[in-house]
Every structure is written in C-alpha cells, then in structure tokens.
Symmetry: C2
Subunit: 495 residues, 2 copies
C-alpha cells in the first residue's frame, strides 16, 4: 500500500525551557493541525537517550497521554542518532501494511540542560565499548576519518581545512534563512578558523551543536500531494576500526541502494537532499556515498557551487545538523520535515528551492552504524520512465575486517590514522592522542598515547610500535633508539 | 499480507554471567536454526532500559554486528515492560507490509548484575513523575490496586491473601515443568505466607523476580504451521490515579478488542493464555479484562481449577513472569515463544497442553500504561465460522479523570486505597505509607504519610485530611481532635 504525508510540524531548534514532552506535543499539534485530524491510529516515537537525558522511561506512554490521545498505541523506536528517521520508517511499515490508516511519527530530544561533560558521556555510549574505553568520542572518531580522507584523496591539511570550512559556511548561510534553525548567523571562513580545535583536525564549527527540539509527521494511506517514494535502512560494524574503508560508509550505501530500488529511482533523479552533517566532512562523504559524486570528489561539487542553495543539487537547504541544530532523536525526522516544506513550496523566502519535486534524506545513527535513507516526492511528479527503470547505482560495499582470532600482541604496526583530542571525556587527560594501527597480521587496533601533545609529532603511514599497558594498546614512534632496541633485543614479549 | 512464524528460541531465564548481547545472540541463533535460515531482512530489537542496565546505547547496531548480520537494518523498539511484544508488533507490520519477507524479533534484558536498589530505581522510572516523587514503586502501586480490588469485590484480607497465594502456587507449579524457567521449585501456601511483605498486602512471592534472559522469533510471509492471528496495542494514562477504575486495565481491554477484531475471534475461542503476572493479582485482573471471566470473578476461575495446567483454560503454562522470570525487555516475546512451543507440540512433558491450537499473550508495559495483546494460532485450525464472525467482546472502557484545573488545595478527602511500602527506593525511609485520596472536588491525588508505620492504622473509605508539606500531599486521619480543630478553626489555608 502506498504511503503519503498529510502534515508536518517542528519546534524551533535551540535551547528550550520547556520539558521534552511539551516540545514534542507542540510539534505533534502542528502536524495534526496541518493534516486536519485530531486522532491517529498509532504513534511511533523517536527519542534516543531519554532515560539519561531527562530521567524518564516509558516515554511512549507519556507522549500519548500528553497529547490527550490516551488509548492509542504508542511505540518508542531508537536507532541511535538516526532515531527520528527510524520512527518514520516504523510508521511507514505500519501504514504500508494496511492495518493502520494514519499514524504519527514524532521525534525529539532535550540535551541543553545538562553539563556538556555529561552530555558528551551520554552521546559517547553509542560508540563500541572497545573503542570508547580509550576515551574515543564521536568528534575523535570523525577526526580520524577526516585525516584518512585527506590522505586517501591527496588533500593537504590546508585544502582539507578549506573544504570543511566551506561546508560550515554554506550550511550556516542556509540556516540563516531557516526560522527553525538554532543558528541563524552567517559565518565566514575567518570565523571558522577562529573556532577552537575539538579533535585535530576538526574544530568546533565542524561539529553539530547540542540542541533541544522536536519534529512530527503524519503518514497516511490516503493520497496527498506528498508521497513516500522509498526507504532504505542498513547497519555497519559497531567498531569503526573493523571497517575496510574509513572514507566511505557502507551503511549509507546499502540503505541508499534499498531506497533507490524501492523508489525505482537513481541518484540523478534526486533534486535536493538533507545529509547528516553531524561533522562537516560527513556531508561530503554522504554526497559521494549516495552516488551524487564519485569517491573523493564530493568536495568539488561543493567548491563548484553545485550543492549550494542555488546550485543544481542543493544539499542541506535547512542548514543541516550544523546550523539547524542536532537534537539527536529529532534530527532524522526534522530532515524529512524540511523536505516536505520544500516539496510543498512552504519553505518560505529565499530558502524555497525552485526545483523541488523529489528530495532525499540521509540520517546516520552513531558513527555510521545505523543509517536510513528516505526519498519523498510530489505525488503529481511525472514519472515517464517508471516502467523502464533500470538501476544505475552500484556502490562498492566493502566487507568488514573483524577478526575472530585473539587480539594482536605487541609489535610493529602502521599508523593508519590518528587524532589529538582536546575535549576529552570525564576521566581522560587532555590532550589525548588516539590512532588506528594496522598490525603485521593485517588487523586494525585502536591505540592511544597521552604523551603526544600535538598532532604535528605524528604522520599517517608511519611505522609505530604497539605495546599493551593496563589492557590498552599504546603506540609510540619507531625512533632510531627504539629501532635499535628492537633490532638488538627482538620484539618484547606480550604480557 | 498474512504473517507466520518459522522459528523461535530463548535462553534459560535466571541469573546469567554472559553479557546481554551474547544472551540475545544465543536466542537468535536458536530461532534462525529452527527457521533454517542464516539471514533475515531486518531485526527488531526489544530492550527496555539497556542504557542504564548495561551502559550502552546503539544496541540495535551491536546486535546486528554480534549476530554477524552487519548491513541488515536493525531497529530498537521499546514500550516499557511490554517491549518484547512491541518488537514483535513492529516486526509484524514490516512483514505485513510486503516489503520484508523475513524478520527477526529479538528481545532481552540483563538486570541481576546490579544492586537491587539500583535496579528498583531504574524500574521505577516507568512510573509517572508525579507519583514517583512520593517514593511510589511498581509494587506499591500494584499493592494499592490489590487493596482496591479486595474492597470493590468484597474480599476479606484473608480471602485476598488466599487468592494471591493460589496464583503464586499455580505458576510455580507450572514453572517447575519448564526447563527455561528461573524458578523450578514447587511452593506451598505456607511458603507463600512465610515470604516477606514488600508493600502491604503484597509479598515477595506476589512479585515477579529480577531476571536475565533473551527470546527470539522469526516472522515470515511464507506460510508455516503457526500464524499470527491478531495483534492489538493500547496505552492508558501515565499516572495511575487519573484512571476512573483501578481494578481493571483499559489498556488491556482496548488492546484485546483490537486483537480479537483483527483475528475475528472471541474470548471463548482462546484455548490458553500467557498473562503478564508481574504481580499475582494482575493475572486475575488480566483474565477478567480479556473477557475470560467477568469482573471480580477471575479468582473463581483459578479456585475452580479452570486456569490450571489441566483446566479448561490454562493460564501461564510457562510459569508466567512469576516463575519463568521477568527480564523486562524479553518477557513480552518470551510469552509468544511459549505459545509457539505449545502450538507446535514442543512444550515437552507434562507442560504440553492437549488443546493447543490457539493461544493469546497479554503483555503489560509499566503500570498497565502500554499493553499488547497478541493471538497466535495453528494455520491448519478449522475456522468454520470465520465468515459469520460477530464480536461478543464489548469491554467497558472507562474514561480517564485527569483534570486540567489547578491542583487541589488542602482539605478533607476520602482515602480510596493505600499501602505501606517496606522496600522503599533510595532516599525514602521505610516503612512508607502511600495512598490515593479523593478530594471533595472529585480529583484523585497521591499522598503519603511516613508516620503510619502499619497498614492496620488505616482503612479504605475513611475520611482523611490532606495537607501540603514541601510540595507533597500528606494525609492524616480525621481523629476526634483533628475534627474538633477543623470545626472550630475551619480548614487550614493552603500555603
């Protein structure tokens, strides 16, 4: 059964004094009002870490009650930071099954009321335990990916910096036009360069902010002008180091393939997209993974203006997670709200796109662990080639490299990528240098070295020596002295 | 599209040394093996408070990875203590939509590794904030419901005690036969009476235990001998005191009505059922709400042996939450696993029921806030009257009594029900007496009085005086002295 959208709503993102359930009720009321209905057959509720952020569980009940919809089935859905898109997907299947006529997908998160250290700790729980114990945060892992991207595609540190700044500048410029955005200020490259380094090479302006907000969509089996064309969903390894590629996300590619196939569409059909720019580089990687640009070329699309608001393929007209803000549970659904605004010509002012008949949203859960791709289109769009559709999206899915062997012992390895983390989580001294080291056996391990106080001391691809200290891998450069010791005495035995 | 079951699995419930993801993987492997498949199109994962119990979020990803199913869509679903049934429902709609051919519903919880006080705190987060702040726990609310039930249906304290003991004795007797049960010991009424009072009148043997465990089911669009006949889901008010009836649960009735309607079945068609006996009385109330017995008569069905293993309508052949154990996220799915065992004749030994062609499970989330009713049947069952089905289940749904007026001020009220809680949560002195007081305006408020150290000092229906102390309602008996003061000086002004 085909699924349509009859109403959307969202709160202004930012810092809110309202309790979470009030914010969510506000978004839901707007959507119900637009859909001109008072009741729905079910609620699918997206909240990511509500138990820890606000101290309540049983939130699906609380929302049904707050909305005055007591009795109606209400189910909480969670897929880490893609939760809002996950709630939409669950709602989609409920309507597509024919058992439900009209359902509410409702998503939100309240984060700004807690101290940043606590929020960081809660957000870090999405990271695989084996990497989290080194002090890895989301920005640290994203920074290691950024370094690797620059090396793989031969971008100098200055060039990488320039590309990342361009993403931030573009998305702030779009957010300036969006009344729902947390940041409505235009920034320049100079502003970007002035922002502090969170985890080298990523700056504060590379990272989506901490935000309160809620978003809502009514899905229905009754035809409306906006149709759900396709949904795809895919996971990837929990640990980032187990992936064979760090510069492209399998979960995006598999999800996109499923969404394009369900929609019988190709990347060239997409007119605009909302991309999960939790970190600036993720926008670039996203546009490559989705088939808009080839690998390592996404930044050119940005540089040439293709992804700008007036370009051929506007990316993040809303301002993205970067400028609209990122209430983790709500973002995935807010992206779809923006697409509906654009498709219905309601985005308003300069933000309204001229070509807006078909839009795509990509929402990443965790560090690209659990990703959803959703395509919405105008129901009146002419689909001349529908019958004759043939897929032209054939992404390369790289297999994971998780080994079932026992963990590697001490020895020489290659430093594949690294970062120096300045905003460390509780219990870790700043700065903290973290790296992925490939061992002789080909396995990738995470390792740390709190002695390297600057990223300047290291470079990717160099040989390092891995030791095990208190159950953690610690890496150090193979200095002349270290090499000599190694040559004379042989490698130290693992404990 | 019709939905069938091709495989089930569960771990032995109890105390486990394995991490949660390993237990869940074990249950999933059994289900996949029985279904003779290696892959599924999606995973729907039920865990209730995994962030707080084990300190990880992003659990849907972790499980896909642990199962070696990286890439497959994985979505976490949560509806408080009915979470396992909620995961099954989401999986059902995914298959029913026609978009997925085969999905895994997988549920689990790990609870025994934490101190009981911490576990109690986590479990209490399902309770509405306005009631939780008085120190109310799940057993305390269930105890107030039990008191009210006894009063409403004219059961003496001794009679109530006898009925509750019978539920515990029956379910332990069934659990004794279940190799997956946490408690495999037969208990007597004397054992029951020796167990300590948790919250008057409920004893330890009235409450489901703290348990580790996991359960799994494969749902498929391909016909198999077991079919999903109907699913219903409903919520009720977050706060228990806002309900117009405390002795019957609207959420069960609305969910049952939806499930019976989808299945085109009536209560009299059901041959056996798994009921959410988180507290012994809930089994009695459940059998009434589901239409098996009329209100206030469920205990007679038990007393007459109807709900015993060899009775006409066996209830909780698995031993129920009481004896099989209650890993909160897993229980709702484990009930369905038991029904599949029975329907396929695989329950084994004395536990196998003779009439097992159609079974029902009722799973309660929170304090009957979010309930699911699921009916499974043998696909080869003769349904002679299918075409001519007419519903004979017409439950009385009582409206909630939430007032939007400002909270009642101090004054005289009626003590509707009360309990003395001995196992108090952190920060509350034991014993703690809690009650629901109906004000003159007809509103129900929760109130406490730490001075009453024994339930013997109070009785339901008596007049009490409500005061407000430090933002909480405190009630005290209208003694002769209090009455005199009240008559001479008028009611004290609210602060």
């Amino acid at each position: 059964m085909d699924v349509y959208i009859s109403g959307v709503g969202m709160t202004k993102f930012g810092r809110s004094k309202e309790p979470l359930e009030k914010m969510m009720a506000e978004a839901a009321s707007l959507a119900l009002k637009q859909a001109q209905v008072e009741r729905v057959d079910a609620i699918y509720l997206g909240v990511m870490s509500v138990e820890e952020f606000v101290g309540d569980s049983n939130f699906a009940t609380l929302l049904a009650d707050t909305l005055g919809l007591t009795g109606i089935p209400s189910t909480r859905v969670e897929t880490a930071s893609s939760t809002g898109a996950g709630a939409f997907e669950a709602a989609f299947y409920a309507v597509a099954s024919g058992h439900m006529k009209r359902v509410l997908a409702l998503a939100g998160e309240k984060m700004t009321h807690l101290p940043t250290a606590k929020t960081t700790r809660i957000l870090s729980e999405v990271i695989d335990r084996s990497e989290r114990r080194y002090g890895a945060t989301m920005p640290a892992l994203a920074a290691m990916i950024a370094q690797k991207y620059a090396r793989e595609f031969h971008l100098s540190p200055l060039k990488l910096e320039d590309i990342l700044a361009q993403v931030a500048v573009k998305n702030h410029s779009n957010g300036y036009l969006n009344p729902y955005a947390q940041f409505r200020k235009i920034i320049t490259k100079e502003d970007y360069l002035k922002s502090q380094i969170v985890s080298y090479p990523l700056r504060l302006y590379d990272c989506a902010p901490i935000t309160d907000g809620a978003s809502a969509i009514i899905l229905t089996s009754q035809p409306t002008p906006i149709k759900v064309a396709g949904i795809g969903h895919a996971t990837d390894t929990a640990a980032v180091r187990h992936r064979s590629s760090l510069t492209s996300f399998n979960s995006t590619k598999e999800a996109a393939q499923r969404a394009y196939t369900m929609a019988r569409l190709n990347p060239s059909d997409i007119q605009f997209a909302e991309i999960h720019d939790a970190f600036t580089l993720f926008e670039i990687i996203g546009t490559e993974d989705l088939g808009f640009f080839s690998a390592g070329k996404g930044w050119k699309g940005l540089e040439e203006g293709t992804t700008h608001l007036r370009g051929r393929l506007p990316i993040n007209p809303s301002g993205g997670l970067k400028a609209r803000g990122h209430p983790v549970g709500a973002s995935g659904l807010a992206q779809l709200v923006e697409i509906v605004y654009q498709l219905s010509g309601e985005a308003g002012g300069e933000r309204q796109l001229e070509r807006a008949e078909i839009g795509l949203a990509q929402s990443i859960g965790g560090l690209a662990n659990n990703t959803l791709v959703t395509i919405l289109e105008r129901a009146d769009r002419k689909r001349i080639l529908r019958e004759g559709w043939s897929p032209d999206y054939h992404p390369e899915i790289s297999l994971s490299k998780k080994s079932t062997a026992s963990p590697p012992s001490e020895g020489v390895g290659i430093l594949e990528t690294f970062t120096t983390l300045y905003t460390t989580p509780e219990g870790f001294l700043s700065p903290l240098t973290l790296g992925f080291v490939r061992t002789k056996g080909g396995e990738m391990v995470m390792a740390c070295n709190p002695d390297y106080r600057s990223p300047k001391e290291l470079k990717m691809g160099q040989k390092v020596y891995l030791r095990i200290r208190e159950g953690l891998y610690v890496f150090e450069k193979l200095s002349f002295l270290n090499r000599l010791k190694y040559w004379i005495k042989g490698p130290p035995k693992s404990p």
